[in-house]
């Protein structure tokens, strides 16, 4: 971790708001901008990242034991696997999904085992090399996994990126997550509101399926930067579900496509992190 310049912890508190989706999109956005980027999936029970990137069958390469070392390190999986994506660097990815032989078998670990796995393997064993950004996807909640990360990372180069959907049911949990961040001394880069509106393909009416405005109101109330809104996009959902997110391209449509929204968020995030 010594050669990682900036760590972005993607947090929510609420499940299913799009942490993994946005972790992938932010990592890809940074990669397209020419940076060296890693993506660490710390969700041990529900690791979605490899499937979204289409690399769920990849295996971890263990490097040989070097002088003074007791055991070899883990090399991250580098993607895209081919060179079609027209990207200078590759994304370095790590997830427990690479170790699970049977993807349908649950990881049923209690807190202490999760903590020691995260610290011994994800933090100390993975050889990330030099990275400008390490994006870390987390499970929902404020529990062992989150505490392990707070204990392992230097807060001076770590920032939290908070994801919410517009509904009050999500906002409540996210407020708790903000309190957790503040208690832990984890600086917060800002808030992103995901699943913000859906445009009916039949009549073009935009419906606030999961209510509206909650994310921006929360940012204002908590005096935090509001980084942007990402609309519900079935096309993006399909690409992620089928592991083809490198195929995500800008559309020729209107200004509020999810592509533009994510690029705006990435640009604001870079400014905040370097500022």
């Amino acid at each position: 971790m010594d050669k990682v310049d900036n760590i972005i912890l993607v947090l929510s508190g609420k499940g299913g708001v799009g942490k993994s989706t946005l972790s992938v999109q932010v990592a890809l956005g940074l990669l397209r901008a020419g940076h060296r980027v890693g993506l660490l999936d710390v969700d041990l029970c529900g690791p979605s990242i490899p499937a979204m990137l289409g690399v769920e069958d990849a295996e971890i390469y263990e490097s040989e034991v070097g002088p003074g070392q007791e055991k070899g390190g883990w090399k991250p999986v580098y993607t895209p696997l081919n060179d079609d994506a027209n990207i200078e660097n590759k994304l370095a990815v790590m997830s427990i999904a690479f170790i699970s032989k049977n993807k349908s078998q649950p990881v049923i670990w209690k807190g202490p085992k999760k903590t020691s796995f995260i610290k011994d393997y994800f933090i100390n064993k993975v050889q990330w090399g030099e990275l400008d950004y390490l994006v870390v996807d987390t499970p929902p909640g404020t529990s062992d996994e989150h505490l392990s990360l707070i204990e392992s990372f230097k807060m001076s180069r770590t920032k939290a990126l908070i994801i919410t959907t517009p509904q009050m049911v999500a906002i409540g949990d996210v407020r708790r997550e903000l309190k957790f961040c503040r208690k832990a001394g984890l600086p917060i880069a800002g808030i992103v509101e995901n699943m913000s509106g859906y445009v009916c393909p039949h009549c073009a009416e935009c419906t606030n399926v999961f209510s509206s405005g909650g994310g921006e109101q929360l940012a204002e109330k908590e005096n935090l930067p509001f980084l942007g809104r990402v609309p519900i996009d079935p096309r993006m959902a399909e690409l992620l579900d089928s592991g083809r997110c490198f195929e995500m391209k800008p559309t020729e449509d209107d200004d509020d496509s999810s592509w533009n929204a994510i690029n705006d968020i990435v640009n604001k995030l870079k400014e905040i992190v370097s500022g």
Partner: protein
């Protein structure tokens, strides 16, 4: 099952293990002698207390997913409402509405109080335990949400979460209930191990799995199903949530979450589960949840209400036709 103590070393073999107190990791642990003597493998003294607290609860039902944000809490709350309002049997004969309870063990993100319109209420202690909060005459709720301030976070490691769950089970005066629905957090973690272990010993009717149509959700759902099978919890079936979006303006349906492979029905067939119900993605559901209003009152003729009533009927039938699962102790 006793949870590992807080001061256990990192590679603790587990207090239940045959190596407890004897493994190399045990050296220096303050509990080493206790483990080595076999004390830690004694039966859990909280089980009889939980059995007593739940002795008048006829059917205990877990609502699980694995994946976050698929609508476990929404489905739990609306199933509870549907069960509490179900007043006709298959032959349209009037029946007494059931007494229903909801236990919310999502310790970090307790949504149930908001959804059922009882956020901000307090639970009161008495000689017979803490009283659940009543959302209706025959619908009561217990959640850490009642114990916390609005923004307060529960930041707990595993062992303390387990203690809190046990307290929520036996320190609450549940009274007589036909159904106790238990809403869970996402994942397959300490909370799930604790609740399935406890319920296996006191009796559980089964688990309902909630999912959305996305492949990313189904990845986690398969794990959750295998988890239930591994711990012996019967599976009542699977609920497909957010199946189709119905536009409030033009009333046409569209698919927000495209099905890549067989979808939820595919998983139900593959894993031999009943497909219980299919709930549409209707903006009124989210609105009612946020405002703590009942969709049964606000939009009684919606397809969402029909779907939840359907689900309730299936759950009632399953409970009538099947015995509770209880793990035999030997």
């Amino acid at each position: 099952m006793s949870e590992n103590p807080e001061d256990a070393p990192e590679h603790c073999p587990g207090v239940e293990s045959q190596d407890a107190g004897k493994a190399s990791a045990c050296a220096g642990c303050p509990n080493q002698n206790v483990c080595a003597s076999g004390e830690a493998r004694k039966p859990d003294p909280d089980i009889p207390k939980i059995k007593e607290a739940l002795m008048n609860v006829s059917h205990k039902i877990l609502v699980l997913s694995g994946k976050g944000g698929v609508g476990k809490s929404t489905v739990t709350a609306n199933l509870a409402l549907a069960l509490s309002q179900h007043n006709e049997d298959d032959e349209n004969v009037e029946v007494e509405p059931a007494e229903v309870g909801v236990l919310d063990i999502d310790l970090c993100g307790p949504s149930i109080p908001r959804i059922l319109g009882v956020m901000g209420e307090a639970s009161h202690g008495s000689a017979s335990g803490y009283s659940p909060v009543y959302a209706a005459d025959n619908l009561c709720v217990m959640s850490t949400g009642f114990l916390l301030g609005e923004d307060e976070a529960i930041i707990l490691r595993g062992a303390k979460k387990n203690r809190l769950i046990k307290d929520l089970l036996y320190q609450v005066d549940w009274g007589t209930l036909d159904y106790l629905l238990i809403d869970t957090p996402p994942g397959t973690s300490d909370e799930h191990l604790t609740i399935t272990n406890l319920l296996s010993q006191v009796g559980v009717s089964g688990a309902i799995i909630v999912t959305t149509p996305q492949e990313i959700s189904l990845l986690d759902v398969r794990k959750q199903i295998n988890f239930c099978k591994a711990v012996g919890i019967p599976l009542i079936g699977i609920v497909e949530n957010m199946s189709m979006f119905v536009c409030p303006k033009c009333s046409k349906s569209s698919t927000i979450f495209p099905r890549i492979k067989g979808g939820v029905e595919g998983v139900a067939n593959e894993m031999n589960l009943s497909y219980l119900s299919n709930v549409p993605l209707d903006p009124v559901i989210g609105k009612c949840c946020d405002q703590g209003k009942s969709i049964f009152d606000e939009h009684p003729n919606s397809s969402a209400v029909a779907a939840y009533k359907n689900l309730a009927t299936s759950v009632i039938k399953f409970c009538e036709e099947n015995q509770d699962f209880v793990k035999s102790s030997n």
